[in-house]
Symmetry: C2
Subunit: 324 residues, 2 copies
């Protein structure tokens, strides 16, 4: 049995605890939280400890599954934990991955621990598709579409506007763009061509809706480059939508192997729960980290570095005879 | 530059030679054939040698790309070549992979060479999807659909019937079965539910069409378990269809991460040319074999054993900064 611990118990931590129910070869030592342990109510039967107690469990945990956020939690936490533990995380600030990798590599080279970073579905399964597809079809174009699903960053940006009480933002891939990729026409697509942004916004009674709508639609980086739909709804309606954390998307590689023959490769995910699926992916990679570490490996790994056989609870013989 | 050679020059060998046109880091020493080299007309600018001369090039080739068939060529050829060369092949007789693996493992353990077996799209990319999907979503069902595309084995079986002059057989996935998987209903599907078999058959003038149709439809293993459509056409029409070797298919994993949330993962390939795409995949894995061998690795590898970074011509830094 591989032994893991969950660090941080928000939506992602809950996803990991549910994923643990589906596997037989990994047991969870417990949830470690910065909050008062008594205030944390696990969704499955797991013990809760203060994160201050973590060091005591140094020799009883194979891998820490870090369930904090990429903006503030992970950049500092992972480096600290990696001094004493193997880790797996879902660091998803794409632009900062190289810097994160370098920082952790320095820690791992001293501690001889192993860290799998940026695990989940994007980065994660989508990255696997992008690297695999471009390697086996070198002449072609990549297209990644996200959604329909909630963008937490865009929802936060709306909530920061004066007069907004609550908000949720859905990223929606445009069907005509997907169709043009699928029919092999290798289109050139702008940001606006690919995705639509739909916002559901609850505002204060005295708020200027017209002004808020304009502020959203013209917000640089977040909305200005997109077709954006703003719907004003009640706080209750936003809260109801916030309960369903579905997401998904598509990775395409469209290309050719000769002047006569086009080839189209597609990965598509339809996820009822983004955090539950991400948690399940993290758990599979926690298994890989535990195995690689037991083999004496250390350092920082991504999905590009880990052979698939390490992810599966099945034997190599089984994989070859049944899944190959 | 990695140096490869193509062994055997049928449709797959031609596919590899076209794939070589799309990469900058691999050069081809030549095509080695059992036929008279003068009779082989490469589709790209490559030298042709007799396979009897291969030993002379022992130190000039990093990887042999074996382009023979799985039924008779590869089982003997690969073991022989692996005594002196690293190899990559597309051995696709799923049921015999474990035996093939064992046989080659013995050779590789003596020769210290490296062999990547069963590379292509199924086995190959589809195997990657099956192993990855089942690892990250342990509670669920797998569904693999093939087509629309030509099954060489089924076409051959029809051609063996008395009175048949020529024939081609298309495997067609049933749309209603795909739809039932895609909508997350986790259906139980029989062989007949999943695929349709459509045959285009040219017969001798005096042939008994009714009898031939019945022989096809009732042929055990090949057709008896399927809904089969038989069309009688001219030899010219069959020959025209034989020029287009398109194929493809779908791998689904449909499952759940909790009682509330279903998750659906799908890989879909639409290939205008099956041999050209398979050749392109073989070439990417030839790169991996060359790299692993240069690192001192040996033995028999499948898609489950090789990290993706070995397939890409790009640097690890590039993969992390751009594709992760």
């Amino acid at each position: 049995m591989y032994k893991v611990a969950i660090i941080g118990y928000g939506n992602l931590g809950k996803g990991v605890s549910l994923a643990l129910e589906k596997v037989d070869d990994i047991e969870c030592v417990g949830i470690f939280t910065r909050r008062d342990p008594a205030s944390v109510k696990p969704v499955t039967d797991l013990k809760v400890y203060s994160v201050d107690e973590l060091e005591k469990y140094k020799d009883k945990i194979d891998v820490l599954i870090l369930c904090g956020g990429s903006a503030t939690d992970l950049p500092d936490q992972t480096a600290k934990y990696l001094e004493n533990f193997n880790t797996v995380d879902s660091f998803d600030t794409h632009a900062r991955i190289p810097e994160y990798y370098e920082k952790l590599s320095k820690v791992a080279s001293k501690s001889k621990k192993l860290s799998a970073i940026s695990i989940g579905w994007d980065p994660g399964l989508f990255s696997i598709a992008r690297a695999l597809f471009s390697s086996v079809l070198p002449s072609g174009n990549d297209y990644t579409f996200w959604g329909k699903g909630v963008s937490q960053g865009h929802s936060d940006a709306i909530r920061r506007i004066e007069g907004v009480v609550n908000a949720i933002q859905y990223t929606i891939p445009k069907q005509e763009a997907i169709d043009s990729v699928r029919n092999g026409s290798n289109p050139t697509l702008t940001t606006r061509d690919k995705h639509l942004r739909e916002c559901f916004v609850a505002v204060a009674d005295d708020a200027d809706k017209e002004k808020i709508e304009s502020q959203i639609k013209n917000m640089p980086n977040y909305f200005a480059d997109y077709d954006t739909i703003v719907n004003f709804v009640s706080d209750e309606e936003v809260k109801a939508m916030q309960k369903k954390l579905s997401h998904g998307g598509f990775v395409f590689r469209s290309g050719d192997t000769s002047s006569e023959n086009g080839q189209l490769l597609e990965l598509c995910l339809k996820l009822d729960s983004n955090p539950e699926f991400t948690g399940s992916v993290l758990l599979a990679y926690a298994r890989a980290v535990a195995r690689l570490s037991k083999e004496g490996k250390s350092g920082v790994y991504t999905v590009f570095d880990i052979p698939l056989k390490y992810l599966s609870p099945k034997s190599e013989d089984y994989l070859r005879s049944t899944l190959l």
